[in-house]
């Protein structure tokens, strides 16, 4: 579904990504972790072309992201993305947040879009909040809306960039529960997260990044049982013992 092949990227002289190679198969859940500044966000943003890259190739559902002939808007319409800071549109109601792209990008009828929006709101447990504005919801609720907004586009895969790291601890689980359910239903997911409990529960593979390189790319069991690199071992020890 997602193939990342030898991708490199620079900001001026600064090498953010170096020869990154990995893939996410259909229905697979891959967790990406690593220290802050290691290039996780940059890598995941390359997948839907929010960040351009200089070398290598990324294919999503058979479509090359780096190819200048690819219409990125079209590709992104079917790749869901969830951000650390939710990024709901504050001037629109929750329902409008869920329908705007369905109407303007997919060209759905209003009734159909609202029906789909309602379904997904119910699914993330926020059916009663449709007419509120994002500012009136808690962080956890906003992030669940953001997931519903991405799902409303009927994406072929979902990208998550630290979806719980801006949340108060008591709200983390409500978001992880939604993500877990999604994973169990067979959604293809690439998740940047430090929630190792979530990774243990639902991930198939874990990718560990450091200094712009993919240092480990293992099956979940192998990663947690005996990470092959020293850096991953240190990272895990730090995360699990704080």
């Amino acid at each position: 579904m997602i193939i990342i092949d030898n991708v490199s990227k620079r900001y001026g002289d600064f090498q953010v990504l170096t020869d990154c190679t990995t893939k996410v198969g259909k229905g697979e859940v891959v967790v990406v972790c690593g220290p802050s500044g290691s290039g996780k966000s940059t890598l995941i943003k390359c997948v839907n072309g929010l960040e351009p890259f200089h070398r290598g190739e990324i294919k999503v559902n058979g479509v090359s992201v780096g190819d200048p002939k690819t219409v990125l808007a079209k590709l992104r319409a079917h790749v869901g993305m969830v951000f650390q800071n939710f990024e709901l549109f504050p001037h629109m109601t929750i329902m409008e947040n869920l329908t705007v792209a369905q109407l303007k990008v997919l060209g759905r009828e209003k009734a159909e879009a609202e029906e789909r929006g309602k379904q997904l709101l119910d699914r993330v447990g926020l059916g009663a909040q449709a007419l509120k504005y994002p500012g009136q919801l808690s962080g956890g609720q906003q992030q669940r809306v953001a997931i519903a907004r991405a799902l409303a586009m009927d994406p072929v895969c979902m990208l998550f960039d630290e979806p719980t790291s801006a949340l108060d601890p008591e709200m983390i689980n409500e978001v992880l529960d939604v993500m877990t359910e999604l994973a169990q239903e067979g959604m293809t997911m690439m998740c940047v997260t430090h929630e190792m409990g979530f990774a243990r529960r639902v991930a198939h593979r874990v990718v560990f990044m450091d200094h712009g390189c993919i240092v480990e790319d293992d099956a979940k069991e192998a990663f947690f049982a005996h990470p092959s690199s020293e850096r991953a071992r240190q990272f895990l020890a730090k995360i699990l013992h704080h």
């Binding site: 943003k45 839907n48 929010l50 990125l72 808007a73 079209k74 992104r76 319409a77 079917h78 790749v79 869901g80 993305m81 951000f83 800071n85 990024e87 709901l88 549109f89 504050p90 001037h91 705007v100 792209a101 303007k104 990008v105 997919l106 907004r149 991405a150 586009m153």
Partner: protein, 229 residues
């Protein structure tokens, strides 16, 4: 020994309909210039922020040019040159009164330079993540701008845009250079006719003050409400 000046306000009541007509012209010029100025200013702001350098340079040049020359000069050019051009190029009959249209065009083009800077700051005040979110949903650059960025930018900018409109309303008095009878021009003519210039100018000043002060209080009230929301 000099005489004490005696105020005589008696020419005002009879002149009210004429003054009222002048006020309508002032307000019409203000409203049209605000609307055209904001539309053109928004385009300029978007060009200025664009990654296409010629567009960005053009917008920067435009803004700097108009912010560096006095408004009254821009207006004079428009009164003197544009009617002449229209007559020669489009064969408008000589003596067609184009002062009203020229005034609006002059103000709109001038104000757009100021609006562009306000709007540019407004666009930049919208977090970058909002554009990423719009794009991630498959929106094009234009859709993201129109549906996500500009509505938020304008909501933050309304107080500044209205304050600029108040300044513009005062500046419309400059159309006296074309002898167009806006509110100020009308007051001046009446005062001149009746030999009561001092009274008429005091009266006109009071009217400008009341309108602008009331409006700016309204802006302040809105600003407070915006902060609470």
């Amino acid at each position: 020994m000099h005489e004490i000046y005696e105020f005589d306000w008696s020419s005002i009541p009879g002149a009210l309909p004429y003054l009222m007509h002048g006020m309508v012209i002032s307000l019409e010029i203000t409203a049209s210039a605000v609307i055209f100025g904001i539309v053109w200013g928004t385009l300029l702001a978007m060009m200025r922020l664009s990654s296409i350098s010629p567009l960005s340079w053009f917008a920067a040049g435009y803004v700097n040019l108009f912010r560096s020359i006095p408004l009254v000069m821009v207006l004079l050019w428009f009164f003197l040159i544009i009617p002449h051009l229209l007559e020669t190029i489009f064969g408008f009959p000589r003596g067609t009164d184009l002062r009203f249209g020229s005034a609006i065009a002059g103000f709109a083009l001038f104000e757009a330079a100021y609006y562009a800077e306000i709007i540019r700051a407004g666009i930049q005040s919208v977090p970058k993540g909002q554009i990423s979110a719009a794009n991630a949903l498959g929106m094009t650059y234009g859709q993201g701008m129109w549906l996500v960025v500009l509505p938020q930018a304008f909501r933050n900018m309304v107080p500044l845009l209205l304050t600029q409109a108040i300044i513009l309303f005062q500046d419309t008095s400059l159309v006296y250079v074309s002898a167009l009878a806006d509110f100020f021009g009308a007051a001046y003519k009446v005062g001149d006719r009746d030999g009561r210039l001092v009274e008429m100018l005091l009266f006109a000043g009071a009217v400008y003050f009341i309108i602008c002060f009331a409006f700016s209080q309204l802006v302040r009230y809105y600003q407070k409400k915006l902060k609470v929301a």
